[in-house]
Amino acid sequence: MALIKDQQLSCSHAATPEMRFTDWVSGGSDAGDAVLANGADDLPSLLAQAGKLSMIAIEFDTFADGRGFSMARMLRRQGYAGEIRAVGDVAMDRIDFMQRVGFNAFELRDDQDALQALQKIGEVSVHFQPSADGKGPAYMV
């Protein structure tokens, strides 16, 4: 599975965590761990504990489940600086939006061409909204 991280194809990177956020919470919440979360998880709890986590992989069961977009946005908003990785049904037609809400890594679906996907970041280069990458309409600067 190809991984794009920080706008580059990544060859060496941490594996996507298998530990689910809920198990991590019940298992002692060790600092520095990486977890797998999705839209069904307890978001206030994730936000409260995020500071301890080195990576949060947000899973898209289906590409149409947009909850992960708000999760990433809220994590970045409160200053989470670790990796937010999109995993699951992740395709090139959404990674630009994903990047703008705060994802910085994308584990692409098997049928995706990673080089082509890389081109999709910034395909629409101007935005009407503020976003995690600091770009926004002129009046918001």
Binding site: M98, V101, V124, S125
Partner: protein, 556 residues
Amino acid sequence: MYAYNEFDQTLIDQRVEQYRDQTRRYLAGEIPEEEFRVLRLMNGLYIQRLAPMLRVAIPYGLMKSDQLRMLAQISRTYDKGYGHFTTRQNMQFNWPTLESVPDILADLAKVQMHAIQTSGACIRNTTTDPFAGVSADEIEDTRPWCELIRQWSTLHPEFAYLPRKFKIAVSGSSSDRAASQVHDIGLHLYRNEVGDMGFEVLVGGGLGRTPVIGKTLRKFLEPQELLTYLDAVLRVYNLNGRRDNKYKARIKILVNALGVDAFGAMVEAEWQLIKGQELRLPEAEIERVKGFFKAPDYLSAMHASRDLNDTFAEHPQFAAWYKQNTRDHKQAGYRIIIVALKNQLQAPGDVNHQQMDGIAALADEFSFSELRSTHDQNLVLADVAQRDLFALWLKLQDLGLARANVGTLTDMINCPGLDFCSLANAETLILSRQVNETFDDMDYLYDLGEIQLKISGCINACGHHHVGHIGILGVEKGGKQVYQFTLGGSASNDASLGKTLGRSIEQDQVVVVIGQILDVYVEQRQTDETFLQVIRRVGFAPFKERVYGTHQRSAA
């Protein structure tokens, strides 16, 4: 009206190329069918029964004449020479090919138009009062606020995959002409007791399978915080709206499940985190956008006015048109003109390319080159001097668009139904033809007064039947198309949902039943009582008795 700057233009040009590449990859088999379905819907492209359908956005219904000319040209080049105005003030083309859509979008982009978010589970075209900025009863012009919402909602990265579609309507006058109480969010711009301008925010209204009147979420919202507040509502909905059942996924279901107070508390908690921050609108930005909607160079009242009494006496049809199809303007000497797209020969809301070119020319000649589309599928020339009215009327006659039936029974809202739509269960266009053929006596229609007839071909309610004074819903029963009547709905200030009259009516009996309902109204009404008032006063019994009475007896 708003004009694109380089920023807006870059955005839609790049979006065209993005969609072109998506179409190319789909045709090459590189995007799965289900995924492309979502991508094309976000760009207004449906696959209908007979052909694709492309829905073009007309933000809050406002157009320049050259934009309408481009729609005419597109209808000639890529379609069958006509288009259809929808209840979201947009235009639909019924016959483009999937392959040609990127080229259509490129043509649209040349005149600052697009099809972004005209479908899909995202924030749709914001709609408003078609008389915004000109009507005599206006409190505040809604257009700058609609434009600010348009910008914020366009390609919003966080809210492109919502549980379901999301519709916002804005009203800014004492009469609600935007159906704001049946929208996911309805915004009422008004002045509070101390004279400050702000929004009342309604949430959770809607039609479809579960019709609901919106509830007040916030009594008064400071206008600078409009976008922070909308952002908070959308985020709470995106995270908490149901995704397991598309029929339960609209925000109205969430609001009803939680109760508006609990929902409001969630919004409030989120809003406290973002209020006053980056999305707060700076005064300078509000003023910049307002600058696009300044009043045009009106003639003085003396130059614009004309005493029309002699012309009325000489041309009674012109007098009737003036009475039915024009409205009071806030500028002395001017009228608002409604161009009714409800004639006997075309489906409600349809215009052909000659008419589009013709109306564009009339907008240039008489109304500062601008026009608007309306929620009830008509067009508006918003700024016509009284002295020009007769000349305008003559030219509208040449285009077949001078029918003086605005607000009458034949000024109906009608979805395209089974003739085009793959969701539909029943034909609707045949009903509008029958209504036009049966009720063609204008004096009778004028005597009946205001009656809103709204027809949908399925439960999704694109024809807004729940809020029609007379609503008709097409359903399929045992392989036959039959129609359920509702009475007493309204989408205005006194918004209410119509109630079902009784069992379904066969297609060839629909106009008969409409006639019976009208007869009961005429018999029951007291001086100056409208159709809706009579229904609210006398209830359903006399209507039921007339429509079903004999059948019920014979069945018993």
